[in-house]
């Protein structure tokens, strides 16, 4: 989780920021799934073997969150592509210097 955040903050490359965001979100998904584990629990299917079931709800929630995360990453990558087409670079510093020049 922290690793992903650090990538977002420190990296100068927009592509790396999107990847950092994906790592950050995935870490949160794993946190959610880990909440669902019940000690000695099995998958929530009715069998005679089981004496406890793990909670399926967080998995369902995370399924939704994964879809949202995919959409976010896709939109982010599409934007990076458009930025590259317009600026011919995706490095933050180079774009900043380009903008400074165009302002003058």
């Amino acid at each position: 989780m922290v690793g992903g955040l650090i990538i977002i903050i420190t990296s100068q490359n927009y592509l790396k920021k999107v990847v950092g965001l994906a790592i950050f979100q995935t870490a949160v998904f794993v946190f959610f799934v880990s909440l669902a584990k019940v000690l000695d629990g099995t998958a929530p299917i009715l069998t005679k073997m089981a004496n406890a079931y793990s909670n399926p709800l967080p998995h369902v929630l995370i399924l939704t969150a994964i879809v949202v995360g995919v959409a976010t990453s896709a939109l982010g990558l599409a934007l990076v592509l458009q930025i590259y087409k317009n600026y011919e670079t995706i490095e933050e510093k180079e774009i900043e210097s380009l903008e400074l020049k165009s302002d003058k």
């Binding site: 999107v18 939704t64 976010t72 982010g76 934007l79 600026y87």
Partner: protein
């Protein structure tokens, strides 16, 4: 004919725009996506009015999706808190959609028209979901749909200025971090209580948990996430570029409604759920929200004075106005919450009107509107300029406009809480607002160049004037807004005093 749909009105106000948005996405026409959107939003308004009628009879509607009972299923809740906002939302979206067509015609490629309106309806539906939902995870989904739709709409501004792409990208990164923080908070809350429904969460928290650190951590994560989304002061940095480089019609929708709906949910979370830990709540309100609001008011106004680009100036003034709203919400009593809601309503109208007028100027001038480019516009385009003047005076808070009502109630609330320092600061900031608005007026009416008046487009100035007239009407006859705000505050604060 509508009777069979009326029972499902709470779901339809959200689902209808989302469904239609999928239908119009690939229409290659210049006009049909707009016509279909208008019809959809007229139906939306019809359902909202129906909800108002129902609420005035029963006072509370809980809509269960798939007939799953609330603690298990997802539910929508409509009560006194959100019905006023729902109505404002419905009406303003209709007006701004009417306004948006001519603006889009000038600012984006006509082949993107269907897609633009598809995203527009997506944003409308999901923002409405934020108003109605009663489930904290469902809120996250709506939050992300609305964020993704608005980011794509902002990126459409790239045809005008390529900086729109950078603004959209920054919004995406910062917004996604905010939303993920919110989800971490939801995870903590769910781990401790096993519920996502807001009413059930209150019950569970009150019965079983007292002062457990995991709950406080979860609450803090949720609040920080929402603060990012609502652009409350230190985490507002995505907002000014996003508003100023988006197509003008999009800035109108976002500035008037997007942050307002999230602020509404923020306050509802504070006063409906977190209220059961009064010590935590007052810690957050007194030592986090209150100082941040004061900083937002002061710094937002000062930065706005130094802006040359008018849309950026308005965006920074939005930061200050959000500061007024959160200042009112941090007061923990009926008058404070009520005045916060009054300002949510009034500021939505004022900023909507201002962005509409400036957006029209941007098209007429065919470039970004800076202070210099406004020279002589007061004579050149008198109808729109006069509307801009009235909206601006209302922003400052002159009598006979609704901005005055907001300031009056805010001062009263601060006075009853004996916060004299805040009163002084709000007064100073209002005076500073005169400075930046005067700079605009000076360029428009008192520059040396004189122009003859030119013809203006009725499709554009009509919606602008609808908003402007409502500003004056609510300035003189403010009862509806006051009633709705008091109703919201009644519902929220009654929990606090018990």
């Amino acid at each position: 004919m509508f009777d069979i749909f009326l029972d499902d009105a709470p779901a339809l106000v959200v689902v209808l725009p989302l469904l239609i948005s999928a239908i119009i996405a690939f229409m290659p026409s210049k006009i049909w996506p707009w016509i279909i959107s208008i019809i959809t939003l007229l139906l939306h308004l019809f359902f909202s009015l129906h909800l108002l009628k129902e609420i005035s009879v029963s006072g509370l509607i809980i809509y269960e999706f798939g007939n799953w009972e609330p603690p298990w299923g997802i539910s929508f809740k409509i009560d006194g808190v959100n019905i006023g906002l729902q109505l404002l939302f419905s009406i303003f979206v209709l007006v701004s959609t009417f306004y948006s067509r001519k603006i889009f015609l000038n600012e984006i490629d006509y082949r993107d028209f269907g897609k633009a309106y598809s995203l527009w309806l997506l944003a409308v539906g999901s923002l409405n979901g934020i108003i109605l939902t009663n489930d904290i995870f469902n809120l996250f989904v709506f939050l992300e749909i609305s964020a993704l739709a608005s980011i794509s709409l902002i990126a459409l501004g790239a045809g005008q200025n390529r900086k729109a792409l950078l603004a959209a990208f920054n919004y995406l990164i910062i917004g996604a971090i905010g939303a993920t923080f919110y989800v971490i908070g939801v995870g903590f809350a769910y781990a401790m209580t096993g519920t996502l429904n807001m009413n059930d969460l209150v019950i569970q928290l009150a019965q079983y948990f007292d002062g457990q650190l995991a709950i406080f951590a979860g609450m803090s994560f949720m609040l920080i996430g929402l603060m990012v989304k609502a652009a409350i002061f230190p985490v507002h940095i995505w907002l000014p570029p996003a508003y100023s480089y988006a197509p003008s019609a999009v800035s109108t929708l976002l500035a008037a409604l997007a942050t307002k709906t999230i602020l509404y949910f923020f306050v509802r979370l504070l006063y409906e759920v977190f209220i059961i830990y009064p010590s935590y709540l007052s810690l957050f309100l007194d030592f986090v929200l209150y100082p941040l609001s004061l900083l937002a008011i002061f710094i937002g106004t000062v930065i706005a004075i130094y802006q040359d680009d008018i849309k950026k100036l308005l965006a920074f003034s939005s930061i200050a106005q959000i500061g007024y709203i959160t200042l009112a919400f941090s007061l923990k009593d009926h008058s404070g919450v009520a005045s916060g809601f009054v300002h949510i309503f009034n500021h939505a109208l004022i900023k909507g009107g201002l962005f509409m007028a400036v957006g029209y100027f941007a098209i007429l001038y065919k470039d970004r509107v800076t202070l210099n480019s406004l020279k002589g516009f007061g004579y050149k385009y008198p109808i729109t300029s006069f509307a801009l003047l009235i909206c601006g005076l209302s922003l400052i808070g002159l009598p006979l406009t609704n901005g005055f009502i907001s300031k009056l109630y805010l001062f009263q609330a601060l006075y009853t809480n004996q916060m004299y320092f805040s009163i002084a600061l709000v007064a100073v900031s209002s005076a500073l607002a005169v400075v930046y608005f005067w700079k605009i007026v000076e360029q428009m009416w008192f520059s040396e160049i004189k122009f003859k008046s030119e013809k203006e487009d009725a499709y554009i100035y009509l919606p602008i004037w609808i908003v402007t007239i409502s500003i004056i009407v609510f300035g003189i006859y403010s009862t509806p807004i006051i009633e709705f705000s008091n109703l919201s505050a009644d519902y929220l604060i009654s929990g606090y005093q018990n």
